[in-house]
């Protein structure tokens, strides 16, 4: 009884030991991917951070967007820039995924593909920053958002996984970060780290002083 609480769980299909072992492996993969991303994309993140810091210094605002889990990740990024607590300076940032009235109006009346582009057309100005997240690199509304942002001469930042999709092939972001994994979950986890480190580097960048 003391060894495992559920000794024959699943009667041959699943054991707690198997499941634990696979979870240990996943935690290891998650960390390894994060470290690989920091090593591979780190210099580009630092370069992007200098550009963002300069944009903020010139009065730019950050707009973030994505779908599903990436919509909440976009909210986290905006929240981190806006209210970093004692760890950093508050910078102007907002997520384009939080306004249900606007999202449902655009989705219902026009097309779901325009939900971010329309907002950027209304809010975005030259020198602002658009940051789009898509694990596939192919989300139509994220890509249209980046296109609109570029039209408005905003700084465009894209996060993608799975080879980068159309975001990569059509070069839709000035600063593109492709996470080398085909697992949506591992991509989101490494994107979280990349976004956090990007924020850390913006806070330290001499370009923002």
């Amino acid at each position: 009884m003391t060894g495992t609480l559920y000794p024959f769980l699943g009667t041959g299909q699943v054991t707690v030991e198997d499941v634990t072992r696979s979870s240990v492996e996943k935690a290891g993969e998650s960390l390894a991917l994060r470290l690989r991303v920091l090593e591979g994309l780190g210099p580009a993140l630092a370069e992007c951070a200098d550009v963002l810091a300069a944009a903020f210094r010139s009065g730019g605002r950050l707009y973030t967007f994505g779908n599903g889990g990436s919509s909440t990740d976009a909210q986290s990024v905006a929240q981190l820039f806006l209210t970093p607590g004692a760890d950093g300076r508050s910078l102007p940032a907002m997520s384009l995924t939080g306004d249900a009235a606007l999202l449902t109006a655009l989705g219902n009346d026009v097309d779901f593909d325009v939900i971010f582009a329309r907002q950027l057309a209304a809010l975005g100005r030259r020198g602002d920053i658009a940051l789009g997240l898509s694990t596939s690199g192919g989300s139509a509304n994220v890509l249209r958002g980046l296109e609109e942002a570029r039209r408005r001469e905003m700084v465009t930042v894209g996060f993608a996984g799975s080879g980068g999709g159309r975001m990569a092939t059509e070069e839709l972001a000035d600063h593109l970060f492709v996470i080398p994994s085909s697992s949506v979950h591992r991509v989101q986890e490494a994107q979280t780290t990349a976004c956090h480190v990007l924020w850390e580097l913006v806070q330290r960048s001499p370009a923002g002083a």
């Binding site: 993140l45 370069e47 951070a49």
Partner: protein, 275 residues
Amino acid sequence: MAMGQQAGTAPLDEAAARRAGPGKALAADAGRIVMCALDMAERFHRKGRLLTFGNGAAAADAGHLAVEFTHPVIVGKRALPAISLANDAAAVSGLAAASGYESVFATQLRLLGRPEDIAVGFLTGDGCGSVRAALAAARDLGMLTVALTASGSDDGVVNGLEIHHVLPARTGDPRVAREIHVTIYHVLWELVHVFYEDPVFSLAPAACHDDGACVTCADTAVPVRVTEVRDGGLAVVDTGSGTEEISVALVEARVGDVVLVHAKEAIAVLGGDGA
């Protein structure tokens, strides 16, 4: 730009180093996620729902966790019911204005929640009073309670609450803790499905609606003695406080055996005089 990159190298190395320890600690904590997923799967089988909550970036994580369950990214995985209590600005700000911010999640839990539900709160240090209050309310209501914590929030804060499952990020850095939490809830989602689809659970009968006196459908495994084997893989067992009918379809149980029963299903024969 070359200078900028040189200057950027040390912070990058430092950023990586800061993440290695907590990442390894998560692997060591995998067993905690497994046991939590097991209990969550059992709750979903009883028609329980997942209710999530957190503040600041963790409010976004509460939404992310809920959407993992309601709209799985892996095609073919079953959608399971989940709601974030942090999403609705009208509800959250309305409750905060009416009764103070600490009540925003606890009030929603009391109104929307049911005893079979699962409450997952992110205790990340930012205004955690509302999360603590909600976890305490969830516990009072009989829900399964789960807390994702960061170092500094898991001592003292969690202790008084008697939370069923504490899933820690072993770092005091709020960004790194958040990164660990994302991995925790991704793995958690995956494991809930592993257990949910397991025969032990798919064979389990629907929730018992007795008045809380049912021993064998509890969400912890309990040993009971078989007093009668019936047709259809069923058996009558002595729970120590009466007799109940359970399924013994997965084990070779005889009269006199002590079996371990979980959610009305015998999952192991522990011994006894039946053999």
